[in-house]
Amino acid sequence: DSGKEESTWRKWNCYEEDAGMAKAPPAARQRKKKPKENKTRTVHANILHDCAKGDENPNRHYANNKIKTTKYTVLSFLPKNLFEQFHRFANVYFVFIALLNFVPVVNAFQPELALAPVVFILSVTAIKDLWEDYRRHRSDKEINHMDCLVYSRAERRYVEKYWKEVRVGDFIRLRCNEILPADVLLLSSSDPDRLCHIETATLDGETNLKQRQVRKGKSAQTFDPLKYNSIIECEKPNNDLNRFRGYIIHRSGRRDALYKENLLLRGCTIRNTEEAVGIVIYAGHETKAMLNNNGPRYKRSKLERQMNVDVFWCVIILLVMCLFAAVGHGLWMFQYGDNRPVFDVLSPEGTNLSPIMSAIYLFLTMIIVFQVLIPISLFVSIEIVKICQVYFIHQDMDLYDEETDSHLQCRALNITEDLGQMQYIFSDKTGTLTENKMVFRRCTVAGVEYSHDANARRLAMYQEMDSEEEETSCPSTRPSAAPWWVLITALQSSSCILYPNKPPSVLQEKDITPDPKLLDKVNDCSSQMDFMRFHSQPMSQLPSDLSDIIDFFIALTICNTVVVSSPNQPRHKVTLTCSGQKHQFGQTSGCSSLLSSPSAESTLTKLHEEQPSGGLEQAFSPIPPSYDGKTSWNLDEGELRYEAESPDEAALVYAARAYKCSLVGRLPDQVIVELPHLGKLSFELLHTLGFDSTRKRMSVVVRHPLTDQITVYTKGADSVIMDLIKPPDTGRKTLKKIVCRTQHYLNLYAADGLRTLCIAKKILSKEEYACWLQRHLAAETAIQGREELLFESALQLETNLHLLGATGIEDRLQDGVPETIASLRKAGLQIWVLTGDKQETAVNIAYACKLLDPEEELLTLNADSQEACALLLEESLHYIQAKFLCSPSGPTTKSFNTNFSPFDIYSSSSPSSQSTPFLVHRLGLVIDGRTLAYALDKSLEDKFLAVARSCRSVLCCRSTPLQKSMVVKLVRNKLKVMTLAIGDGANDVSMIQVADVGVGISGQEGMQAVMASDFALPRFRYLQKLLLVHGHWCYSRLANMILYFFYKNAMFVALIFWYQFYCGFSGSAMIDQWYLIFFNLMFSAFPQLITGTLDKDVSAETLQQLPQLYVNGQNSEEYKPYMFWMNMIDAFYQSLVCFFIPYFAYADSDVDLFTWGTPITTLALFTILLHLGTETKTWVRNLIINIALFFTVALCYNASCPACYSPSNPYWTMQRLLQEPLFYLLCFITPIAALLPRYTVFSLWMSENTSLFFKYL
């Protein structure tokens, strides 16, 4: 190709000329220019354009790889931060008030001083923002300065560069375990199959490896960046991780399509691949990982919503007070008429204001004076307290899971108190209640059941062992349980970090004791096949039951997306060269040892030397680990590890391996399976029709190496597969029997709480296949509606199946689930389980986890139509009413009352909304997905809810993710209750997002649920402590704090209000303006913050022992609307006492304004702090510290300057007061008189409450 040569030559010439210009392009790149408004992005290799001037580089418009997540720069910090802060209404309000002070007629305080609190609040927030931004900056810097290998034309090799220097169009060489610096299009891989494995844990948390492959069309064996001259056209940057479309446009004009399989995403880690080379497509902020980065979520909690109502009331109170004062002032002025008294000072200009004008001005003045009523520091305080609460929740040892080294994550920082107010819990089943560690338990093949008793026994033994271990709880010292290789890899991992091991789960999944009967049959069958193969007999002569058995296991082995890896050498994929080509089969008699003829296509790419001795590991790695030689000998295929996207796939593969039918390798176009007697067979993988939740099945299309037939293996939920089975009348009679029996066993499995899957196959004739293939290919290459077309194509293929068998997989309950459910229930929480599993399985799990009680009645709603559903609901409603409402003295109700007092308490003490006629009965409701769909219809939802809410437990089976979220939404909106959704999988995401609080279980199924959640827990049972203890604490702390803030400010402001009656409503304040302004910030805020963070009304142990105490939060008992008013009334009473006791004590004396005001301030502070003392259940020393602080500040302030602080000029006031006995006498009586009513009510409540408390004990 002369053109290519020419361009190469030109490039080199360029290099000679522009050697000195190497540094020019980066500077030019920085220049911001408007990118061309194209719908696609075109990427050229930089290598071609290095020589061109920076402006001519076609990639110059694209973002470079330097990331900057900081919001501010040094210069922009102040304006930008202020701008952002003024988006908050409260800040604007306070600034407005501060500025009002600069109007001379209005000013109440010294204008400079009035700015102080606002400046303080703004600067606290600004400092917080600055600090966060600095942290981001540091981490940006760290990331920007990570190293990677970029091809440099100047040096004709890959040189180390910082990440930030990488730009679009660069060639990057990636080594094993490196993190990708940008979104890279894979161009070459050292892997013989041109694959590259990546781990995407940082993106989606899934730890299984994913395959990426080099675009098939290109066939260069060794990739040479210098010769690369194609152009890549692809989509604009977007945040969809699972989508990538584009073309490589070769020099020749040929276009090769690119898919997401060709793209390596930033943040992923290269695994199992020695080396890969790619070209950067998206860099820096345009990478998919960065575009997906949304930051923390902000929700508004119920408490805050309540609070905002009361803030609104505060505004009303403020306005009323101001109006009152303004009218009062107007009248006061009016009574003097034209005769101005000597103390009514003219305005600075000497003009005389009319009463009406001065009333208007006074109104504004009063807004300033009373501004404290709107709690300026409340918003800041709440934020600080919540952050502290989150910190403490995060630090709780009890919420830490040692096994996974993970602990609770609070992803939403501002809804901690909602945890204390939950009323409904919606839980997923799989992975949430259960461990989602699948264990193969039983199977049915060709209508014969193999019960695997030994397996069950062994499992039971494990369970015991597990529980013992948990008691000692020291998993790091588990040498007996962990296989030796785990320890070895752990030791080796210090140098090269491996993907995380999961010893317990692996143990459970892979150790399967085969059923002897079945094992015999498998052996029998395969030896026959071997024999037949040897004698070149057609396979179809095999008895159908035996062929079914072998097909069953083959299906288990290949019908999945499991990736094989070798545990002792986990960095590298097992690269197996066994590829039993069908045409070679006849000649190469017996593939017993490793077949060494690789597929024609990839022969040349394989650099390794084949090992004829049958070793599975290739000496492929140029950096052979030292342990390789030692350990690989004693390995057999059994030690292969399977990485699966869902645990049940792996469980099935492990199960098949127990029958010596093991998956040894998987390549994009073939699957290698080792069978007893037959050795390694390579199935040519023609198509994989992946799993989706609508089809509920997956299929693979392979060419069977023994029969050379095109075979479809399908695995899926029994409900769908059974419908797709070929009608029995066309087949033999036995087939019908088999289907019947299998169905029977499936029901049995489900009754045992096992997850069932059906396995089926279908043999396609060449013509059928060709016909289907045509349409399928058309679908695959379609640009528009590709997904739909593929779906339809899959539906066409998966028909008329031949049933092979069914499997039952156990999903163990997580530890402590029944106990957690029981105690959450005692706490008055309604627990609904929404699962996609089939009804029987779900019901069984529900029994196992004590969600359903064997003694209680079960209402099962299964309807085929809307009308039937309506009828069913109507009937159940009548039934419930007849049974429970009309016979309150009936035996059922009676026993319910005596045995289950907590429910009694819950239902009677929950006046929340209209729930009064609905008592919670001892009933369980089970509804399946189809019926649920009808029940969620607008016309029936009310009835459904009426039925559902009167049941103690509700179980929705076979529900789709959408239905889950609809149920949550329905309950949340209609019943006006607080809902919590907990789940672990992608199918729970919508439900988690809809609920008031979404909890994700960071479990086996990836991180999607966690990403969507507000809180992420390692285990379900932690929910108990999270809700009952932390939820309760957070709620009660915050509720008390908010009420206290309202009270405190109202009390303080009211003091000044009463004074207006004695100063002609002139807006005068006897409290020194410094105290007035800093009161909120200094003297009374700190103790409140401390109690808001640390106060414990009830100890953690008690809260867990007496879940009933949770009802407190559910009914919002700590913060009810009337409580705000009670607090306001109390505040007004207390301020009256604090005002009038000093008033009368100093009446008609020679006391001056501020010498009188200072004791009032002191008394108010004493009262406020003592009030906090009665509110606070745990006295922390901070009250005393605070009083000391006040006196210290006051004394210093009063001694600081004899002629400053106009107008109060408080020189030596406090010092003088402290010499007067009267001051102490006042300090003694006033707080007591002020708190007397509260204390009385409190002690009345106490004597009642303690008795209640003891009743629970």
Partner: protein
């Protein structure tokens, strides 16, 4: 803020450099400290009826005696009060009060006879009292220049003599407006408070039973706070010590009859450190107030300071209050450790103490009844 250490990753979406596999090396287990596990030692009073009830009785038992003590103390204080506003036709000052305004320069004198029923043994404090006088009005309170009163000479000058000087603060504070200056001359002392200074002169005469009228010596020093007289208020110190010279170039407040440097003959009680002036400048908290005017020192241990008998109060009536329906009083009072005569605090203590005691009893009864019921409930369960 503390939360950010862990929320960092979520917030920023940054890739952790150590990679996910790093979990094997890094242990995220929280520390088991008392603080982090919220097990800080704290005093938690167990509030039960047993601890709550005694508090009521204890408060009651402490407060009632204190209250009785205070009440007795207050009752022992002797106080005499005479209203000389003169809005009543029968009042001797009626003529003076009538038609009197700030514009009058000639003072009017009236004499008021009164009788003391009891002898006043210790030092007697003589107050003048004003009612309905809002010294606490917001604009009134602000209308002063503390810097000027502190002797800052710059506050006594008029600015704008030179551009350089005008930049500094060289005149009475703007808070004094509109009583800051007249005809570009600063007012000393400026502001509405000073302007409205009480300027009645009160004199006391003892009418001897033998018919002669003996003037009672009134001490006019020691009536202001020590810190006010010596720290807060200072005369400006000029080049010469003569006050007249120092206040050269200033004008007296509009309502004053004499300039500030003629308030007293005693140089230690003249100018800004005149104690009558200082007392007035401490704005009263409430519209009805009294201010210390003079002290009648006890002369010897034998005779009472003010014996029983007839007295005459001679008032130089200068201060108009009728326009705002104010009242003027003269008060003679002895003083105790707790201040002047005020029975309120004693009554308050007694009341609160009694209420506490009463509540204690009520609660005890309630608790007793309830406790019994509760016990029986427990048994039945």
């Amino acid at each position: 803020m503390m939360a950010s250490s862990y929320s960092a990753k979520d917030e920023d979406g940054h890739i952790t450099v150590s990679g996910p596999g790093g979990g094997t090396l890094r242990n995220k287990k929280p520390e088991n400290t008392a603080f982090k596990q919220q097990r800080l030692p704290a005093w938690q009073p167990i509030l039960t009826a047993g601890t709550v009830l005694p508090a009521f009785f204890i408060i009651g038992l402490i407060f009632i005696p204190i209250g009785i003590g205070l009440y007795v103390t207050s009752n022992n204080i002797k106080e005499f009060e005479i209203d000389y506003t003169g809005d009543d036709t029968s009042s001797p000052c009626y003529n003076c009060a009538k038609n009197f305004s700030w514009n009058n320069t000639k003072s009017c004198t009236c004499t008021i006879p009164f009788q003391l029923d009891q002898p006043y043994e210790s030092n007697v404090f003589m107050y003048y009292g004003l009612s309905n006088f809002y010294q606490n009005h917001r604009r009134y309170v602000k209308s002063r220049d503390d810097s000027q009163l502190n002797g800052n000479i710059d506050s006594l000058k008029v600015g704008a003599s030179s551009p350089m000087a005008s930049r500094k603060k060289k005149k009475p504070s703007k808070e004094c407006e509109p009583y800051a200056s007249i005809d570009n001359k600063p007012i000393a002392p400026c502001g509405a408070i000073a302007n409205s200074m009480f300027n009645d002169t009160l004199k006391l005469f003892y009418n001897d039973p033998n018919g002669t009228s003996v003037p009672i010596p009134l001490t006019s020093t020691g009536i202001a706070w020590w810190t006010d007289k010596h720290v807060k208020f200072r005369n400006p110190v000029g080049t010469n010590s003569n006050l007249t010279a120092v206040f050269q170039g200033t004008v007296k407040p509009v309502n004053w009859h004499r300039p500030v440097y003629e308030l007293d003959t005693d140089p230690e009680n003249n100018g800004f450190i005149n104690e009558d002036f200082i007392v007035w400048m401490r704005t009263a908290a409430l519209p009805t107030f009294r201010k210390l005017y003079r002290i009648i020192q006890k002369k010897n241990n034998m005779a009472p300071t003010l014996p029983r008998g007839n007295y005459t109060l001679v008032v130089d009536y200068n201060y108009p209050v009728r326009s705002f329906e104010g009242r003027k009083r003269m008060i003679l009072s002895t003083i105790s450790w707790m201040g002047g005569k005020n029975p309120f605090l004693g009554i308050a203590y007694i009341t609160v103490g009694s209420v506490c005691f009463f509540l204690g009893v009520v609660l005890l009864v309630i608790h007793h009844k309830y406790g019994n019921r509760n016990n029986s409930a427990n048994i039945s369960n």
